[in-house]
Amino acid sequence: MGLANEAYITGVGQSEVGVRLTRSPMGLTKDAIMEAIADAGLTLEQIDGVASYPGKSHGYLGFSPVGVDEVIEQFGIKARWHFGGGEIPAQLSAIAEAANAVRTGQARHIICYRTVYEAAALSRPDEFPALQRETVDGFSQWTAPFFAISAACWVAQYAQRQTKLYGMTREQLAQVALNATRNAYKNPRARAITKEPLTLEKYFSARMISSPFCLYDCDRFTDCSTVVIVSAGDALDEVSPNPVRIAASAGKVDRWSWDQPELMACYPTGEDLWKKTDYKPKDVDTVQFYDGFAFFPIGWLEALGFCEIGEGHKFIEGGTRIALDGELPLNTGGGQIGAGRLHGFGFAHEAATQLRGKGGERQIPGDPKVAVATSGGGPLAAALLLARD
């Protein structure tokens, strides 16, 4: 049985994952919620909390088309606690907030969801108009005027530093995408995103986006909803067996900027995570690291102390250590590069799936008990330590 003052992931769910899906964003959200509550052995009547990141994005609906208020209404949830916002450390911080809510008795079972509709929205501009802006402000005024329009251009400069200062090669960087697509090929939900595993030859023939990133170093717009149910430790008698404890979380940022700091926020966040737990990096059986761009997992490996700063690309060299049967399996479901831009929540979903032994063809061996899931890059960083203990 669980402990009061602890939080557990008790169910996960996911809609179809696709590109230019026609099912509505709320329909996809329903599919993911229904799968997750069935997985947890709960009914909608037992749900008393809702959390999401970043809340509904009215200016650019494809990015986040379903608001927490709409979920409460649609599913008739009598919410004792809810949260939807973007000014938190990163995507997975919504799950960390839900964990804090159940630990402090504010709710018993919380639906945490992230619905993305970026591919469908682009294909249906009448329904989902593109962001229109006459001027740029906020942080983008320091990048967009120089045609550094995409985060690809901002993150590429961190990756380039790894190339120039520490000797990262494109062959080493490519291991992120090669590993992701190899694993995605064994993930039935990733069929629409990865039709066949990538080869190094194909990687090198891809067009460049922003050096050192080529097309396969970037995730792609995807339509999907992902759900994680977070339950209170003293409510585990109400759910299916096999819960996963949220043992710790972190999200530390020293400067909120994409260009001023030398290191991304994953570095202080990784260091901070280990201050909140007795677990150590050597206890971790699998890692699910945000890979919106291929350099991020390399940063997370260093940030969390799996290797020294400047060594992350060497850690993944050749791909064997991070493979499903390697010493530290990475992005076992395909990550975002292999399984679609689910925007952070996919990493919590996959970490829980592996710890509960439900990975099917992609299940890692050895009865895994501890996993780290992360999201974010640049000034965004969130880490969850999950344990079946």
Partner: protein, 142 residues
């Protein structure tokens, strides 16, 4: 021909930065009390919270901290490839500008390259771009 550069919305914080090029100045907000710089610009010092802030015309030289060669045309008619870089400014500790390195081949940019500002004006905004530069004896010391 490139599309117009995305245009910053001028306000009391950023006006001196985006219009200083009219006088040939690269303006970075400096605190009159603690002497430190705040960038992105604010009217309150991020180091000591003083409101005794004013734009300081800095040397306009610096070096390439990191860069990327951008190949993807993010906007219609955007000419590629071009260089996006982060420049460390001489005499302005802990301030980085994201910018473009212009007037050279994209393959000729490298870490540590000495650069100096050159302004490109569009409708009253003076975009601070940088070009490679061989410092004379008086310059290039941060």
């Amino acid at each position: 021909m490139n599309p117009p550069r995305p245009r910053p919305r001028l306000d009391a914080d950023n006006r001196a930065f985006w219009t200083g090029g009219a006088d040939g100045n690269l303006n970075i907000m400096k605190c009159g009390d603690c002497g430190q710089y705040t960038h992105p610009p604010r009217q309150i010092c991020r180091h000591c919270q003083s409101e005794n802030m004013a734009p300081d015309a800095v040397a306009g030289t610096g070096e390439v901290d990191t860069y990327t060669i951008n190949y993807q045309p993010w906007m219609p008619e955007l000419e590629v490839p071009f260089v996006i870089a982060r420049v460390k400014l001489d005499g302005v500790p802990d301030v980085i500008l994201t910018t473009n390195i212009v007037n050279c081949d994209v393959e000729d940019v490298d870490f540590g390259d000495k650069v100096k500002v050159t302004f490109e004006e569009q409708n009253g905004i003076w975009f601070p771009l940088f070009e490679k530069h061989v410092p004379n004896a008086d310059e290039g010391v941060a």
